[in-house]
Symmetry: C2
Subunit: 333 residues, 2 copies
């Protein structure tokens, strides 16, 4: 295992310490239980937006804490759900009296623990709403999931809900917004290589030198098909077809697109993938009105990419364009 780490059991806390040192103007990091909150939390009168999940997907979620996006993030161990006490502490830390939204990716452990934390907080008088993201079109059930997995749409939902909360939407409205983003978002991923969880010390799965996995999950869960490596044009066409026909996205739609790197794929390839996606969308009359190209929801050092499309009306585009200031996403400020 080749990693820039010290002891495997310290990876998450030492990386969080780096985030705290690098971004003290934006975030505060608490330990035991671990969570990251925006430096000015709680913002009184504003809905708090909280997410979390296993570590190893950085910048998601800790890198999205700050003005206009998340109020707090709960990082679990690598590829392991955070515990209810993390979510409870984070929720209390960001409650500004207007309630707190939990944005939960659809993994069994995440769902169960966020539910438990929500109940604990509600028992103490904090209004909590939860929305589950399940946007991955690849497979119906998966290794850690009943139903579809939650993947790239989570990033866009965090940005858009954060913007809604900044505009002082109430809890019901921020939760509805999150459901709207999820209902309009679809994703699919693929991998060229596996990744290695530090505590495991060996690759999560084996894959041949001439093979790729289409429909991979962000923890290396099996996808739709193991097949021979193909040119980018064919790979993107397969993924885009699966995504576009699922919603379906239609001629005349505006979308926010994300071409996401899994962690080990260089930017020169991600822009090449974006070029293919742009051509496919243009051919179908789908306008990419906004986009992200880069590493946003990763799987450690896995090589591969995922594509997310969210059909966006004027409200979603306006909230997308609103200022955001986090370690991982910043504009307008």
């Amino acid at each position: 295992m080749k990693k820039l780490i010290n002891k495997t059991e310290d990876v998450v806390t030492e990386s969080l310490a780096g985030v705290a040192a690098a971004h003290a103007d934006l975030v505060k990091v608490f330990y035991d239980p671990n969570f990251v909150v925006r430096a000015d939390a709680p913002v009184m009168g504003k809905v708090g937006v909280v997410s979390g999940g296993g570590s190893g997907h950085e910048p998601m979620h800790g890198g999205f804490v700050g003005m206009g996006m998340l109020d707090a993030a709960c990082p679990g161990d690598v590829f392991t759900s955070p515990t209810p006490d993390q979510m409870e502490a984070a929720t209390k830390a960001v409650d500004g009296g207007a309630g707190v939204l939990h944005i939960v990716k659809n993994y069994t452990g995440d769902i169960m623990n966020f539910e438990m934390a929500a109940e604990l907080c509600q028992a103490e008088g904090i209004d909590v709403a939860s929305v589950v993201i399940d946007d991955d079109v690849a497979v119906q059930d998966s290794l850690y999931t009943a139903g579809r997995r939650g993947v790239g749409t989570t990033v866009l939902a965090e940005k858009i809900c954060g913007a809604g909360a900044e505009k002082r939407y109430d809890l019901q409205k921020v939760a509805d917004l999150c459901r709207k983003v999820n209902a309009n978002g679809r994703s699919m991923g693929m991998a060229l290589t596996s990744c290695t969880v530090p505590a495991a010390g060996k690759p999560t799965f084996d894959i041949g030198d001439d093979e790729m996995e289409i429909g991979i999950g962000i923890h290396g869960e099996p996808g739709r098909e193991r097949m021979a490596l193909k040119p980018a044009k064919e790979i993107v066409a397969m993924m885009a077809e699966a995504i576009i026909t699922d919603l379906p996205f239609k001629n005349g739609d505006n979308v926010i697109a994300m071409v996401n790197g899994m962690g080990g794929t260089p930017l020169i390839e991600l822009y090449l993938v974006y070029n293919e996606l742009e051509q496919i969308c243009q051919g179908k009359g789908i306008t990419i009105a906004r986009r992200l190209v880069g590493n946003y929801i990763t799987s450690l050092e896995m090589a591969g990419t995922s594509i997310t499309l969210v059909k966006a009306d004027g409200e979603l585009l306006e909230l997308w364009d609103a200022p955001v200031h986090t370690p991982g996403l910043r504009w307008g400020v």
Copy 2:
């Protein structure tokens, strides 16, 4: 070779097409010869800032074109110097009557071709100044370089010189600023794995499963020492020691720091590296006043990191903080 590409000979142009499609509000891309210019070029009365080099280091340089940073970038083939006609065309495209600065990384081919382009432009009445960046403390001469290689300080020089140009510093003053950043900047890199140039189809160098290369160049050029993999704390200490003693950086200095990923290293590790660097600097009374943590000057999918420190007075910090709006770096707007 596992890459998200089509034909190897089309990687650079297809990736540039992706940049053009994704960032039409910021940049225009020209082909044959290939160069990227800011969308509003030329900016009349402003010094144009141009850089370039081989592709495969993205986001450098094309991702740094835009307001407050570069006016143009010339991408060569992967790990291959751009040709004089690219630099000549880019220089002409961004000349707003106040002259053009060429920021050149110290590689023999880059130097020679930028010199030729400068002469061609000067013959047509464009005032051109050139500054060479040679900040890599690892080795004195290298595979493609006489003297020290130009690496991470280039990114910081592009940001700071771009800000100076926006403030309408004249050509002499922007060139002096670039020399000041280079004189105060030092870098060193290391690799855990090699990378594969698409046209070559096989790894640039071999490295054992338990080995790392300290002092690596951004094209996989040999560094100071091949040694057994060590904990991050020891790796960062070795690199920081080499950098800090070289300038030397001293108790009381303010620095801009960059912890850069080589392309295949996940962010969770880069923040862990940053945490080690922060502790070392604190221990020596060096204040990291500003920082970047992420992939800024990469070597395709190489796993590894580089550290750059630039000693920064009030002028450099003020220019660092000035607004920038490029595909790869954005704040204040």
